[in-house]
Amino acid sequence: MKTPVLIVFGSILLCGTIAWVLLVSARLDEAAPPERSNLRTGRAPGNHPLSDPGPSENLKNPASGATPDHVASLKENRKSMDNMTPPQIGASRPARREGKQKQPTNQVVRPDAPAAPLAIRLADDFRLPASFMAMAARQSKPEATPVPMPVATVSEQLITEFYQSIARELSTEENSEPVVETDPVTGDLTQVVQPNQGSERITKQFDERYRAMFGDTAYSYHLIRSAIEKTLPLPSPSSVPQD
């Protein structure tokens, strides 16, 4: 008599577990929208792409000093970093605003923002780091001489790490209420990063990294462009072409 009851109970438990897993997966997919073509939009990753590859027992063979096989997985991680695509950049500011004009953003304040990683978008009055302006300039000139792979990698890494730093900063801002908006096209949730002391500190730090990497001349040029981009007046509704 006991056995059929146990089978039924077990089946219910199993089905419930599967349903719960599927539900959680669906929610995570929903909360992690695809990257968009926007200068100010990026992903706030939950984990660093090159986090600890596994157990820490990576000691060498005491006799031979040979490196264990699984340590070589670091190289694979490195490859995956090289293949990592940073947030796509290239949309000009007028185009972005034009898009917003057509489909106003549904911006809401959500104190109880979900814990799953959201895409993040820099607010319109957020001064962009010099590395963003440099990347946008390069992408707007596809005919320009290609840069060596390590240089391109570092350029993309600067942007990826900037978003990671901003995401970490956001996670520590316990007292502030995150501003979350719904993407009018996809319906995905996006957290808007407002300029404040913390985000400005991070921006300056990445500007210094850009200067060290590419020199004063390039840094000054893109810093000025960044300042201009921030202070450009919003186009009036009448100046935006209507379809």
Binding site: D52, L59, R209
Partner: protein, 441 residues
Amino acid sequence: MKNKALIFGVTAATLITPAFADVIVDITGATAFRAACLTSIKASFDAAPSASYQFAHNKAEGDVINSDNSLWVGKFPGITGTTTIRCTFNGSVQGIRALVDSPAQNPSFYDNTNAGNLITAASSTGGETHKDTANFAKAFVTAQAEIAFSDVAASSTPFSAPLQPADPAAGVVVFTMLTNQGSSVANVTTQNFRALFGLGKAPLSQFTGDPANSTFVYAVGRNDGSGTRTAYLAETGFGIANPVVQYIVNEGNAGTDENTVMQVAPVGGVNVPALNGQDSRNKSTVWGQDQAGNGGYNSGSGLVTAMGRKGTSVQILDEDGGTIGTNRADLVTWISLNDAITARDAGAVFCAYNGYKLNDVAVSGTTMSAADLGKVTHGAYTAWSYQQMYRRNDLTSGDVVSVYNTIKAAIQGNLATAGVPVTSMAVSRDVDGGVVGSTSL
């Protein structure tokens, strides 16, 4: 019940049995803190209870702290089993690369399994073997390093994969502008440097302000695997990833103490056919820019030799080996304080950087005076960077971390002229070449 007792007994026995795990720690990277690191390793082995260790290296007996390759085997403080430390110093950027790109970039270390590497060591009180010992076997083995020193942060290289720990700074490494023997260059500004390394040469009058100085000053420096080069390109605002134009002295005369032939660093490091003194290791490979002028010395020693000599009449070659002319050629470079002192002993001259000069080091050559130290620690003199001591990212606990912590702590007391303890700095900077600001604000 019997089974439970058996499981309990086995578990207890496993927990009680002491671990006698042996550990191998491979160290690579920058040479700036080499002496401090090796002094610290030796001091740590000496400090172990009933010290018992052996070591071998590639320098003369008693000069292990300046060795490029060394092997240490014995009892290390805090480690139960036998600790083997193998060191190969091959440059900052290459060191970081070795931590994150294995096996492709595994350095070569002395093979500890080759008994010949430690042939004369005493068994109980420690012993030293060195390159001059007859039959000294210098077998090597390649392996991924656990620890790497670097003059610059990993974020200043194309190899910015995560590394341990969160704060890897083991000290501050100090550099100086240096000119060769007989040169009248006394001060190098940031503007001077950028003009010089952008074109490879600049009029001497640009450095002295004397219109009568019509000869040229030439840029010499390291290839792009060097942390020293990364530091000077960051600090001066030239840009780490930007290609430079540098010369390499191909030939000199030890008898007359003169440089005799120098050349724009050729593509690949050598011409076809190769000219005297060329070396394929001088090409730049890290940033994918192996182009004329962008190469440089693959180690500090060749640069030190060139800086110790005069340039009264030097045959100047272009990147293809064609003669441009034979002229007076003064040289300017940026070099670590340790190497600068060695070069100064051979005749090189310390220059001021943006008006500030390490005067007393130039005179005494031993330790930094309080006056010079103050220029560094309080921000007047900015030719410095943090010496980073990185661990592989997967090493977060265990014996390797214990060895790392012991060496890092000991280095603070063994810096000599290599640098300044971080705790002595009244200023700091966020990134290499970044703004230097007071820590008290």
